[in-house]
């Protein structure tokens, strides 16, 4: 098992290098000149050259790449041309906000999706199955931003139960910064009130975001459970008297989970890349909003930083899925 883990970890190094090269190349090859944009329309060539020197853009490309990679490793992710704030500092605030949203959404999707899929498979072609299929179909066909708007109208405006948007009220003191996750930070500081407020603000955007992975996980889990239930070994287990509960929750579940797991891993990356709409609708101060602003102004370093972070998380979540896959499938880890 240990060698399997090590092997998987060593394998991601070339992927990371490739990712950084790709992002760097795309950022440099993109049309438009950010320096020109940042310096303003009336800047003289000398001013532009100065600005370019300040950001290291006058050097040959390989040198620029080298500086950029060493910077990445040492924690210097460059700075925004406009705000002059260090990208690393910005990411420290925006990344946890987005991760908190994505993880909460995935947590909900897994918590509901796995039992729902299992139930639908066991009661195949009976009413629990039909219900789960109708709900999944609805959830997957509804655009997230539209759903977000509906939720806002319903729960925030009509019922007034939950806040319309934002992450934490300006009128309250947020918990002390430790991880950047407000849920965790408020628990660390023992502030249950802040924890409650955090959950209220999380509820609607997380729900809007969880529906599509929820639908996919339910369908995936249903399909793989149905497939596993038809395997020969399930017949053998029944023929030798094991109870249907033991067969389902022990012997079938572990096998059915491995296909679903792959989907979960992919979804984490997919949600991260797609938070923009939900963040915009709910005014959630996360990576999506940050990246949009940077892209519109062709602000290099933040764009690169966000891309690297999302790519990195994608790789890590796939690594975790691979490791879990190895745990669930003994055959995989010996190959």
């Amino acid at each position: 098992m240990l060698t399997y883990i090590l092997r998987r970890i060593v394998l991601i190094i070339p992927v990371l290098i490739g990712l950084s090269l790709l992002v760097f190349a795309i950022a440099r090859l993109l049309p438009g000149d950010p320096i020109q944009l940042a310096a303003g329309p009336n800047a003289s060539p000398a001013e532009i050259a100065d600005l370019a020197r300040e950001f290291g853009l006058d050097k040959p490309l390989p040198v620029q790449y080298w500086n950029y990679v060493t910077g990445l490793v040492t924690g210097d992710w460059g700075q925004s041309i406009f705000t002059r704030r260090a990208v690393a500092e910005d990411l420290k605030v925006y990344l946890p906000a987005t991760l908190e949203l994505v993880f909460t959404a995935m947590f909900l999707a897994i918590l509901i999706g796995i039992p729902a899929g299992l139930t639908a498979a066991v009661y195949r072609n009976r009413w629990p199955d039909y219900m789960s299929r109708v709900v999944s179909l609805g959830a997957i066909s509804m655009p997230r931003f539209f759903l977000g708007l509906l939720l806002q109208i319903g729960f925030a405006m009509w019922l007034g139960w939950l806040p319309l948007g934002g992450r934490f009220p300006l009128t309250e003191d947020p918990p002390a910064f430790v991880t950047g996750f407000l849920t965790i930070d408020s628990l660390i500081s023992g502030d249950l009130r802040a924890f409650g407020i955090t959950l209220q603000y999380l509820a609607l955007p997380a729900f809007a975001m969880c529906l599509s992975p929820l639908a996919t996980i339910t369908r995936m889990m249903r399909a793989s459970t149905i497939e596993i239930l038809q395997q020969d070994y399930v017949l053998t287990e029944r023929a030798l008297g094991l109870s249907s509960r033991l067969i389902l929750f022990k012997y079938v579940l572990r096998n059915a989970m491995s296909a679903t797991l792959t989907v979960i891993g992919l979804y984490v990356g997919w949600l991260l890349g797609g938070t923009v709409l939900v963040e915009t609708v709910f005014d959630w101060p996360g990576l999506g909003l940050y990246a949009t602003k940077a892209i519109v102004t062709q602000d290099f370093m933040p764009v690169i930083g966000v891309t690297i972070v999302i790519g990195g998380i994608f790789i890590i979540s796939n690594l975790i899925v691979d490791l879990l896959y190895g745990i669930l499938n003994p055959k995989v880890r010996y190959e």
Partner: protein, 342 residues
């Protein structure tokens, strides 16, 4: 009281084309110590007969139409599902064809055997050899030790270590040994083995059959051995039942049936076995093919392929008659034997 007694079992199988009458009045009596070979062409209902006994045919698409199956007098077709579960793995052991797909790949083999042992031990504490009040961990430990003993008994070397291996770490033959250990760990009285060696290498087949034979002898089990191999039947079975399109058309002791086959189908089946003495071109197949069970021919289902067919064959399904002691045939041509009838 007979160990297993199947009386006039009719089973339907529904598909989108309609309901096929796949078992059409099966009669079979198995006593302890008897090894019954069940033979017949593919699709004749051998597996469904075996699955019906453990009531593992899913309904729907299956439907038990009439008949009874009793295990020591207890009717299995009317038993409740929990009652059936308490018989499976404990009174009735089953082994299936393909050892590569019949073990759960995600679990150590030990885990799977131990669960079967715990199930059987929950019904009869003497199997685990611990008192009825033993704690869960004591029972688990006893089950594990029993599993190791059982694996050693079926010929797995270093069973104490291999018990923690996963199925893919065993060869096909070894996996079938594991499955045999699983089927027998609950000390069943009846063993149903559905083509247990068909998926194995020829060299391994003989070893597995030998192992099964020895274990069955030792514990005096009643056995249903479903197989296509008449040579195997001749070597290890005491009795044979020949099936055709959902009926047992000839049955009895192996010696009687093989020496003196009465039913034209049995004769044809025996003639289709190649022997070393045969000359080139002498090997015979049966002409024709199995009837469509959705619309079976009237009367004897073999009539359309039978060389000795007569007008009365299509009138009704011929009843079984005893042509000798321990020898019954369902054919209009069969002559009841005076001493057997008496």
């Amino acid at each position: 009281m007979a160990l297993l007694e199947i009386r006039d079992l009719h089973l339907g199988m529904r598909s989108f084309e309609g309901e096929a009458h796949v078992l059409n009045g099966i009669h079979l009596t198995v006593e302890r110590g008897e090894i019954w070979g069940i033979v017949g062409e593919t699709g004749c209902g051998k597996s469904l007969t075996g699955l019906s006994i453990s009531r593992l045919v899913s309904t729907p698409p299956g439907r038990y139409i009439t008949g009874s199956i009793s295990l020591e007098g207890r009717n299995l077709l009317t038993a409740s599902e929990p009652e059936m579960q308490s018989l499976r793995g404990r009174r009735i052991g089953m082994i299936f064809q393909d050892p590569t797909t019949n073990l759960n790949p995600a679990f150590r083999v030990g885990e799977q055997i131990v669960d079967v042992a715990l199930h059987a031990g929950g019904l009869d504490p003497s199997i685990l050899g611990v008192g009825a009040k033993a704690s869960r961990s004591e029972r688990k430990k006893a089950a594990r030790n029993l599993a190791i003993d059982m694996l050693a008994k079926v010929g797995i070397p270093k069973a104490g270590e291999r018990i923690d291996d996963y199925p893919h770490q065993f060869s096909g033959g070894m996996r079938q040994r594991v499955l045999i250990a699983m089927a027998l760990i609950g000390r069943p009285d009846l063993l149903i083995a559905d083509e247990p060696t068909t998926a194995l290498d020829v060299s391994v087949q003989a070893q597995i059959l030998r192992l099964l034979y020895d274990l069955v002898q030792e514990h005096q089990l009643g056995v249903l051995l479903i197989t296509h191999n008449l040579g195997v039947v001749a070597q290890i079975c005491t009795h044979v039942a020949v099936m055709y399109a959902g009926n047992i058309i000839e049955s009895g002791s192996v010696r009687e049936v093989f020496k003196n086959p009465n039913h034209p189908y049995t004769t044809g089946l025996l003639a289709s076995v190649p022997t070393a003495k045969m000359k080139r071109g002498e090997l015979q197949g049966l002409p024709g093919s199995v009837p469509n069970l959705l619309a079976p021919p009237p009367g004897c289902r073999f009539a359309p392929r039978c060389a000795a067919v007569q007008p009365r064959c299509t009138a009704a399904i011929p009843p079984s008659v005893a042509v000798a002691a321990h020898h019954e045939v369902a054919c209009v041509l069969a002559e009841p034997h005076a001493s057997a009838a008496a």
